[in-house]
Amino acid sequence: MQHDNLVELENVAFSYGARPVLKGINLTAKRGQVIAIMGSSGCGKTTLLRLIGGQIKAGQGQVRVAGTSLNALDQPALYRLRRKMGMLFQFGALFTDMPVYDNVAFPLREHTDLPETAIRDMVRMKLHAVGLRGAAQMMPAELSGGMARRVALARAIALDPQLVLYDEPFAGLDPISLGVIGNLIRRLTDTLGLTSVVVTHDVQESLKIVDYVYFVSDGVIVAEGTAAEIRASTLPYVHQFVHGEADGPVTFHYPAPSYTDDLRLGGRSA
């Protein structure tokens, strides 16, 4: 059955121990879309990604990927579902003991019975798609940050997944690499018919390429909309985030006792 929504989160709540991180999230990602989940550090974006990937189980609510609910899956079923997903980790998470070629070939070798000749061609194709076919024999330690992430992307799409999850793909890259990655995410989503869920706090790059944005703050979705809607939003939190304002709903000063009191205490003599 064709599902229009590839990813659905319904009223999802999650706590790390006693600390509640997500308190009722409703989120959908349609096929062929690039959606972004944004918010400041520690707001729970990465937790959402891990919930979608099945690395953690929701305390409440439903997480559905391609129509299958993740809550009740056992390990073999979860692993079967994960073959339809790819994930790009923040720093690539390439296997450091093997060259680029073997990294991209890894999912092919583990999950298919394809002969080495077929694998060779597929690896070359994926590397070509990210522009790194010439780097096939380099070791991960020799790659720059941007290149490592591109190789990881090639690895994530090796099995032609339906869904690709990106954990902070723009973090720490130079302007050119930023453009390259953003471009790749959009192009691959369109040409391969994927769905992409991008977790990021890089506003400028992501707003260029996404179809829909969800803003997370304090465990709930505070705003959502298309890129244009978000840019034009007047909600204080969204406005502060999008325009990079130093002070607003997220205050500049970390909670501290009164300044004058603090100084006087320091200045008082024995």
């Binding site: 990937g53 690395q55 390990q75 692993y79 079967r80 994960r82 073959r83 997903m85 790819g86 994930m87 980790f89 923040q90 720093f91 998470a93 390439l94 296997f95 450091t96 890894f106 999912p107 583990e110 999950h111 990881a152 690895r155």
Partner: protein
């Protein structure tokens, strides 16, 4: 203040117990997921290279020196009873029963054990294990189990090599250097060292040590906090914990095995 200290102690004890429970579950998980390690023997063989072959130099050299020292010290002591010809027995028994399995295990723990912990800890810290999970490959089956079996298979081989080198070292010092009778050296040794009692027990000991050390090394790496200090602390803990475990197990096994002689 005292209440706080007691609360802390209780907390840490509970944490420690929880950790031991987790370690046992981890060990069982390794055994259950060992199918891959045997079906894809290449993985295990690769790990045997890194754990076993790369420990060869330190094992062989240490074995040689330990054997030579045994030869020297043994001769000194036996001379007072006029029993120099029993040097072969002394060197062989000490090595095969105790020093071979135990010292080789301690060396293995510090060289290969710490390397395993560091490697797995780093893989965890750089999210390689998570990446593997997300690619629907079970890291316990693919990464942990082959290393476990590599360690268990390598350990008795290394212990045997250690003992053999040691006996050779004792022979070099005793017969060639000092001048103990060569025939007496070997014949007395052969008459006294029994296959079942001494050699087989030594092999059993080294297999048990291999299981203990490798499990501890893998567990500490898998459980390490994903930071630089976390991995470094885990590596230290591996060496300390597995060394203590080897010595404690040695006592237990020796009591079991050699009690019958009493």
């Amino acid at each position: 203040m005292l209440k706080q200290a007691i609360a802390n102690l209780g907390n840490r004890t509970l944490q420690g117990v929880g950790r031991i429970g987790f370690a046992v579950r981890f060990f069982v998980a390794i055994l259950l997921h060992s199918g891959t390690a045997f079906r894809r023997l290449g993985l295990t063989i690769r790990e045997m290279y890194f754990s076993g072959v790369q420990s060869l130099i330190i094992i062989l050299v240490s074995g040689l020196f330990v054997g030579m020292v045994l030869g020297l010290q043994g001769y000194e002591t036996l001379q007072t009873y006029g029993s120099e010809e029993a040097l072969g027995i002394l060197v062989a028994m000490s090595l095969v029963r105790e020093l071979g399995p135990v010292v080789a295990a301690l060396l293995f723990a510090s060289r290969a054990g710490s390397a395993i912990t560091a490697e797995i800890g780093l893989m965890k810290a750089t999210e390689q294990l998570s990446a593997m999970e997300m690619m629907a490959v079970d890291p316990v089956a693919r990464v942990v189990a082959p290393r476990f079996w590599a360690g268990v298979i390598s350990m008795p081989l290394l212990a045997g090599l250690f003992s053999a080198m040691g006996i050779f070292g004792g022979y070099l010092v005793g017969v060639q250097l000092i001048g103990v009778d060569e025939g007496a050296f070997w014949s007395q040794m052969q008459n006294a060292v029994d296959f079942e009692q001494d050699i087989l027990n030594g092999v059993i000991k080294s297999v048990v040590f291999g299981i203990a050390i490798t499990t501890i090394a893998l567990f500490e790496g898998y459980d390490a906090p994903p930071t630089a200090e976390g991995v470094s602390g885990a590596t230290t803990r591996t060496v300390v914990t597995s060394s203590l475990a080897v010595l404690a197990l040695d006592f237990v096994l020796t009591a079991f095995m050699f009690r019958g002689l009493g």
